[in-house]
């Protein structure tokens, strides 16, 4: 347990940098696991344009990870970044953005989680951690203000993420908000391509196999003692006013208030009515289950629960709960998000709420992305039902809704045992390997990114977004107050042109949000308010149009990174099942592939990218202030 390295004390120059820009720590923490070297780097240059989080991470990824540095190469960077609002009194500001070259697409990744990590990191004096290299043995990173050490983690080998956090809490005599831990479970150690990074009991940076990148680096966990450094906003009174306005908006806005009260629980009943709840691996959109039992109040009241809020958050969103009855009675679990109910439930034909809640936490503990697991497990279940996979191949019989069987699959995947070794590659690669009729049943993007846990055949904007995005998941995400920047309040969801214009029109909003160090849910407010909070924090004036422009800069950099990695327009399609016509339910008469090419054309025109090459045009890059990128992308 002896430390292998310690960070140098911050230099006078670094301290000066942090003092010049309020709201920031002003330093980046660099860790080379191959050499054990740890150092800090002052960060002030270009701070205003890159903001933080994914904005900062995209720039570092582009500059430091070349096309030959694949996801599993030691020179790949694992960037754990937060932003200027983290640690400040705005709701949900413990945010973490993970940026890396991910294992599923072998391209850019930006995926977010919350809890306390971002705040703890800022209080320790850092805006981001950039990890490179590969440790010789399983290690964890310990941060306590200026003391930064890479420590032996052999005693944590094989532990799941909750066990890892408990062990580190015990080891350091700290718990709760005093210690933030983000770690990988056995799936990350086994380099499962859809391994996630889980932290603070139930928060997951889940997309594009970022946990596999961490596993390849032999980094079991990052553990941060809540630091002691002060963060001073430029205009404390203005910041509190903006924070209050955001909170008031979340409480009272018709749409956001449901998030305030129930988090994402209403998703199940709402999406079902729209034909966008994925049931049994996209084989149906109908159920005989009484959907009134899935309304948020009934879902939550079915458990003994208590709030489990993130840093400075006043939402009634995250909860820890105890399973009340059934074989798992008494077990502590985190309340599933909508995507948990979907991926660990409806997608695999399970409707037992106690069982799904338990299975969802098993996924978190193993560190598997719940979305991709749903597509993998649902695919196996369907293929076994139809005889495309046999009991002999899989190792046991697995039918729809089998919670115990699904958990057995989790263990097989997490440890790459038997058929689990193939499934650990994700449903795209597994189904391509099996081939035949089985291949036609798999839900994935040709690029390799996992669709989120909706049935996108009833939610076309998300299918288009997932297939065209450059971050390993959705890039524009749900339209939120889109009228604020000139988009229509509602569209015909099955009119491809309207859908594409909306998805392209809101590009940039989410990247801006993800640059701030907060939460996607508490930032479901108006961009104007977020820009006002950022202005008060930093002393720089940000406007709503500029916020969108900054987000679009990030999108362009991630796109350029992917193009350099060989991920181009030829991969921007859904798999056969993902893009199929629904057989029943509210979306059954609508076939997205009838309009696909026109949708993609329209999207390209809207975002200002070249349809043939996939590159942002010179004009677009000039407008975004990315002349340096234009020179890179368009040089002869």
């Amino acid at each position: 347990m002896s430390p292998t390295a310690t960070a140098s004390r911050p230099t006078t120059k670094a301290s000066a940098a942090s003092a010049t820009v309020p709201g920031y720590a002003g330093k980046l923490l660099r860790v080379n696991l191959s050499t054990g070297k740890i150092w800090t780097q002052p960060w002030a240059e270009h701070m205003r344009e890159y903001v933080g989080g994914v904005g900062l991470g995209a720039k570092i990824l582009y500059e430091e990870v070349g096309p030959k540095v694949h996801w599993d190469h030691p020179d790949n960077r694992l960037i754990l970044a937060t932003g200027p609002l983290a640690g400040l009194p705005v709701w949900g500001t413990g945010g973490l953005s993970v940026i890396t070259r991910g294992a599923q697409t072998n391209g850019a990744t930006s995926t977010q989680a919350n809890g306390f990590f971002g705040a703890a990191l800022k209080y320790s004096g850092y805006d981001a951690i950039i990890v490179q290299g590969q440790a010789k043995k399983l290690s964890y990173l310990y941060i306590n203000d200026d003391v930064v050490e890479v420590r032996d983690a052999s005693h944590l080998k094989g532990k799941d993420t909750w066990e890892t956090q408990e062990a580190l809490e015990l080891e350091h005599g700290l718990s709760g908000h005093r210690l933030s831990v983000y770690s990988i479970g056995p799936a990350g150690e086994s380099l499962v391509r859809f391994a996630a990074i889980q932290g603070d009991y139930g928060h997951v940076a889940s997309k594009n196999g970022c946990g596999a990148v961490m596993g390849k680096k032999k980094l079991k966990a990052v553990c941060i003692v809540r630091g002691t450094k002060a963060l001073t906003p430029h205009d404390p009174r203005g910041l509190v006013q903006a924070a209050d306005d955001i909170a008031h908006d979340l409480k009272t806005d018709p749409a956001a208030s449901t998030l305030y009260r129930w988090g994402t629980l209403p998703g199940v009943t709402n999406l079902y009515k729209l034909g966008a709840l994925p049931i049994k691996n996209y084989t149906t959109n109908l159920t005989t289950v009484d959907m009134s039992t899935w309304e948020p109040a009934k879902l939550r009241n079915g458990f003994d629960h208590r709030g489990h809020q993130c840093n400075a958050c006043g939402m009634h969103h995250c909860h820890i709960q105890v399973i009340r009855n059934g074989p798992k009675a008494g077990e502590l679990v985190d309340e599933p998000e909508y995507e948990g109910w979907s991926g660990a439930g409806w997608t695999i034909g399970a409707t037992d709420q106690q069982g799904i809640s338990w299975l969802n936490t098993r996924l978190d503990r193993a560190c598997l992305d719940v979305n991709e697991f749903g597509w993998v497990c649902g695919w196996v279940m369907e293929c076994m039902e139809k005889g495309y996979l046999t009991e002999k191949q899989v190792g046991f019989k697995l039918g729809w809704g089998d919670i115990e069987g699904a958990n057995r699959l989790i263990q097989m995947i997490s440890h790459r045992q038997g058929f689990g070794d193939l499934l650990a590659e994700g449903v795209k690669r597994a189904s391509e390997k099996i081939g035949g009729e089985a291949a036609k049943c798999a839900v994935y993007t040709i690029k390799g990114a996992s669709p989120r846990g909706h049935d996108h055949r009833g939610r076309w904007e998300e299918m288009l977004d997932t297939c065209t995005s450059s971050n390993g998941t959705m890039e524009s995400a749900n339209p939120t107050h889109q009228t604020e920047f000139g988009q229509p309040g509602r569209i015909n969801p099955f009119n491809g042109e309207e859908v594409a214009k909306l998805v392209g029109g809101i590009l940039g909003r989410k990247h801006f949000e993800d640059s701030l160090g907060g939460c996607i849910f508490t930032f479901r407010s108006r961009i104007e308010m977020l820009a006002r909070a950022l202005s008060a924090a930093t002393g720089w004036t940000y406007t709503m149009p500029e916020a969108l422009r900054l987000g679009r800069r990030t999108a362009a950099i991630l796109r350029a990174f992917n193009l350099r990695c060989g991920i181009g327009t030829d991969l921007e399609y859904p798999s056969a099942r993902y893009g199929s016509r629904p057989v029943d339910g509210p979306a059954k008469d609508h076939n997205i592939m009838d309009q696909w090419e026109h949708m993609v054309d329209t999207w390209y025109a809207t975002v200002g990218y070249d349809r043939k090459t996939g590159k942002p045009t010179r004009e677009t890059l000039k407008k975004l202030g990315l002349d340096w990128l234009a020179r890179d992308l368009w040089r002869k």
């Binding site: 018709p254 749409a255 309304e295 948020p296 109040a297 509602r490 969801p493 099955f494």
Partner: protein, 107 residues
């Protein structure tokens, strides 16, 4: 005479989840209403008459000038989102079902 004609046709209006708060509910479940209408009356006319009796819903459903729908409540006609089989000015048929569904944010 108009009253007789209106009573001869009815549409069911289902108000769901958090939208029920605007019609005397607790923000969960759903509340059902039966609305009589005259032949050739449109989605807009029926909804305007219905929301006139529920001022909070009126404010939440419509834009401030009442010419368009606001952006946070989905209007679903017989399982199809508005814009697919019906526009606001499409006539309703007897026994049509209108669902007011709160917009879902999140993942």
């Amino acid at each position: 005479m108009a009253q007789i004609a209106r009573d001869s046709l009815t549409a069911q209006i289902e108000v769901t989840t958090w939208v029920t708060k605007h019609v005397g509910g607790d923000g969960s479940g759903s509340k059902l209403f039966t609305e009589a209408f005259a032949p050739a009356e449109t989605v807009r006319q029926v909804l305007r008459r219905f929301t006139a009796r529920h001022p909070e819903l009126d404010a939440a459903l419509w834009s401030p000038d009442h010419t368009e729908l606001g952006e946070h409540i989905e209007v679903v006609i017989n399982d199809a989102v508005l814009g697919v089989t019906h526009e606001l000015d499409s006539p309703l048929k007897d026994s049509d079902r209108i669902t007011l569904l709160g917009q879902f944010m999140g993942g």
